[in-house]
């Protein structure tokens, strides 16, 4: 397994290389002149030129790519045009807040999503199912800005229990993670429901009932794990999305994460930062893929032994 993982990780290197090309081209292709955007809304043409020269934006594209790549190979992600700071430093300080927020949100989503999905699968078309459906659909169709602001109004302004923003303590995690996790919990709940319903039709479920097992055991031990495969796919995807930082949640709760950095860098076309972020996100998705595959193997011994 370790060998396999290492192999997969090594395979990522050429892939990331290809991604740099795509990313670089795409980023430069989208309209917008970073020099103009960063120099400010009332910059003179000279100021703009200055920025352009300072960051080598006046050079031909291939040259920019070559110098970008040669820096990259030396482990240098470049310098932000906007902040004038090393991109690596910026990413690393933004990564952890987003990462922890993602972990906590995912924790909620799974904690609520899976049991809700199980209940609604077992109580298919009963009132429990309908109630959970209404919850799930609400969580999907309520935009997160609305949910976030409502939570903030209630728990921060009215009740004064929780802070409105920042990342100082565990209390700061509660509202943003609920905001971010609600929609994901809904998706997970719906997928769990569907997957469990599919699994419950299998013969081995009948076998386990024939052993006299409690319905709960049948569900949790026999149905659940088999149903987890599609759920894991979905969870992995959502985890990836969250790891790229949620622009809305981070904005709402003044979270110093990747999402806000991303939006700022896109708005100002801060090429080095955008490129580095895209590379990071691609890497995250590749890594998540790997983890999901390993999880498949853990969940499904057939995959594990490759037959």
């Amino acid at each position: 397994m370790i060998k396999y993982s290492i192999k997969r990780l090594l395979l990522m290197i050429p892939l990331l290389f290809i991604i740099t090309v795509i990313v670089f081209m795409f980023v430069h292709m989208i309209p917008g002149d970073p020099a103009r955007l960063i120099a400010g809304s009332d910059a003179t043409i000279d100021e703009i030129k200055l920025v352009r020269e300072k960051y080598g934006l006046d050079q031909p594209l291939y040259q920019q790519y070559i110098s970008y790549m040669s820096n990259l190979f030396q482990g240098d992600l470049g310098t932000s045009i906007q902040a004038g700071r090393p991109v690596a430093e910026m990413l690393s300080e933004r990564f952890m807040p987003t990462f922890w927020l993602t972990v906590v949100s995912m924790f909620w989503s799974l904690l609520f999503g899976i049991p809700i999905g199980l209940v609604s699968a077992v109580k298919r078309n009963k009132w429990q199912d309908h109630i959970t459906m209404v919850f799930a659909v609400s969580a999907i169709s309520i935009p997160s800005f609305w949910l976030g602001l409502m939570l903030m109004q209630l728990f921060s302004v009215q009740l004064g229990w929780l802070p409105t923003g920042g990342i100082d303590s565990w209390k700061h995690y509660i509202l943003p993670s609920i905001t971010l996790g609600a929609g994901v919990a809904a998706i997970i709940a719906r997928f769990t429901r569907s997957a469990v319903m599919d699994v419950l039709k299998n013969d081995y479920i009948r076998t386990s009932r024939a052993k006299g097992l409690h319905e709960y055991t049948v569900l949790m031990k026999h149905a659940f794990r088999n149903a987890m495969i599609p759920v894991v796919t979905m969870t992995g995807l959502q985890f990836g999305f969250m790891l790229s930082g949620s622009i809305i949640t981070e904005t709402l709760f003044s979270w110093p994460g990747l999402g806000r950095l991303l939006i700022n860098s896109i708005v100002s076309r801060d090429y080095p930062v955008i490129q580095a972020e895209l590379l990071l996100f691609s890497f995250e998705f590749l890594l998540i893929n790997l983890i999901v595959d390993l999880l498949y193997g853990w969940l499904n011994p057939k995959v594990r032994y490759g037959s």
Partner: protein, 505 residues
């Protein structure tokens, strides 16, 4: 209510925001702490708590001396001589003297330093130390508005030792003469400043720490003020002013800005090449409704091409809302049935709202407006990517202009300065070309005679008003909110805040 306050205190305790810490929630991140390389108000606001310039702006945008005791300008506005205050030290112990000033001005004036604010000082030919507390700056050509550049926050003084020691990284470790010293900067989260015990003005500062927090979401910023996590927030969107007004213990402060909201009309393109059409459109927009719908009343009608607080402002007779007259003018111009036009603009919700408003208004005079909001980079390319004015697709552009230096030249030249100001060089999105205005603006720069300048700028404003390359709309207010117990923050019309005197009672 009182009850509410109790709760707020609880919340603020958890934040560790205590009575000697002044917390400011701003919309945007502080991006840098090097004033010479800054172009955003949030950074200037933070920097001006740490650093000071020779001159500065007061709350009415008048130039006042700060580190300079006094200054003199020669007749043709080429030589600026500053007398410095004595006994001032930078926070790192370095003396503030003429040598320090020279280091700073030289840094700004050097094109190789590639500082964002180099352009403000690109005319500087030489900076000379006359004696320990006298320094003279010579320009390569006359530029009367230069004094405003010295007052601009970009011209704040950084400790020469720090510049030497940190180089470019001085943006992360600023050292100035101001009442607060840099303590900690957690990017994206907060910037913390603490008291400078050796500050030259013994009255200041009045709080121990200042914390700046970027809180991009309007609702969150207001919530922070409500819970007591922030003492002062800026900006407050006009739509939310009621919330502040309805909360006990909070107050709303407004102040006219230097911004003029307009939409420009491409005077080189049909039908906007006809002044009658442009005037007709000016008549066709109900400014009063505009102020209400877009700004919730927190703005005033624009009565010139620059805002009242800008130097040498000269108010004009407004184009009143008059559909009949507008239709009449259109008819005269040969468009009795109106026409179709496209307006470009930014994509923030207030800008979209404005454009929608224009559309509704112009509909009444038969002009069908297509509104195209665009993301900032895209619109930048579409307008400023055009090198030949004739090729411009631009018809109407929903814009706003604010001269951060507060002087009339910067208020007028970039937007009305003729061919030289056409995109991509500058911001003349109406492709306005008037020889009269050009020569008035040039003359005004050649002299330091204030009365003369006032007259020249007045004439220029009048001409522009009549030619109506813009639809002159509004001068919005700056709106901020604070706890009642908080005082001493001075909001400058440019939008930069002076928090040096902040206090909590």
């Amino acid at each position: 209510a009182c009850g509410n306050n109790d709760k707020n205190d609880k919340a603020s305790e958890s934040k560790g925001s205590s009575s000697d810490t002044f917390t400011v929630a701003l919309e945007s991140d502080v991006t840098t702490l090097d004033p010479h390389d800054t172009n955003d108000n949030a950074s200037y606001t933070a920097e001006s708590a740490i650093m000071e310039g020779l001159l500065g702006f007061d709350k009415d945008n008048k130039v006042v001396p700060v580190l300079a005791k006094s200054y003199e300008v020669n007749k043709d506005s080429t030589e600026f001589t500053f007398k410095l205050k004595k006994g001032i030290k930078f926070q790192d112990g370095t003396d503030f003297n003429a040598e320090a000033v020279k280091t700073n001005i030289d840094r700004l004036a050097d094109p190789e330093s590639k500082l964002k604010r180099h352009s403000l000082f690109e005319l500087v030919k030489e900076t000379k130390v006359i004696d320990d507390d006298t320094v003279r700056v010579t320009l390569s050509k006359p530029f009367a508005a230069m004094i405003n550049n010295f007052a601009h926050p970009a011209a704040m003084m950084i400790s020469p030792d720090a510049i030497k020691k940190y180089g470019d990284k001085v943006s992360q470790r600023p050292v100035g003469t101001g009442p607060f010293t840099f303590e900690k900067w957690q990017h994206g989260e907060y910037l913390k400043l603490t008291v400078n015990k050796n500050y030259w003005n013994k009255d200041l500062p009045k709080v121990h720490n200042i914390v700046f927090k970027p809180v991009p979401e309007n609702g969150a910023r207001i919530a922070m003020l409500q819970t007591g996590e922030a003492d002062f927030i800026y900006p407050v969107p006009p739509t939310d002013t009621k919330t502040i007004e309805n909360t006990d213990g909070l107050s709303l402060v407004t102040k006219p800005s230097l911004i003029v909201k307009y939409f420009s009309m491409n005077t080189m393109k049909k039908p906007f090449n006809d002044v009658k059409v442009r005037q007709a459109i000016n008549y066709a927009i109900d400014k009063e409704a505009f102020l209400k719908v877009v700004y919730n009343g927190y703005a005033s009608e624009a009565k010139s091409s620059i805002a009242p607080d800008t130097q040498f402002y000269a108010g004009q007779t407004p184009y009143e809302y008059n559909i009949k007259k507008a239709k009449q003018l259109l008819k005269e111009a040969g468009y009795p049935n109106g026409f179709e036009a496209t307006i470009w603009g930014g994509n923030s919700s207030d800008k979209v709202k404005m454009m929608e408003f224009y559309k509704q208004q112009l509909d009444k005079v038969g002009i069908t407006l297509k509104t195209v909001p665009m993301e900032s980079g895209t619109i930048g390319d579409k307008i400023w990517g055009v090198t030949n004015a004739k090729d411009a697709d631009l018809e109407l552009y929903n814009g706003g202009w604010s001269p951060s230096t507060g002087d009339a030249d910067w208020g007028l030249r970039p937007v009305f300065g003729g061919e030289e100001a056409f995109p991509p060089n500058s911001y003349n999105t109406s492709y306005y070309q008037s020889n009269t205005v050009n020569s008035l603006l040039n003359q005004a720069l050649q002299t330091s005679d204030t009365a003369k300048r006032k007259e020249l700028y007045g004439k220029a404003q009048q001409q522009i008003w009549e030619d109506a390359p813009w639809v002159f709309l509004a001068v919005p207010d700056l709106i901020y909110a604070k706890k009642d117990s908080v005082d001493g923050v001075v909001m400058q019309p440019s939008g930069v805040m002076d928090v040096r005197g902040a206090e909590k009672k």
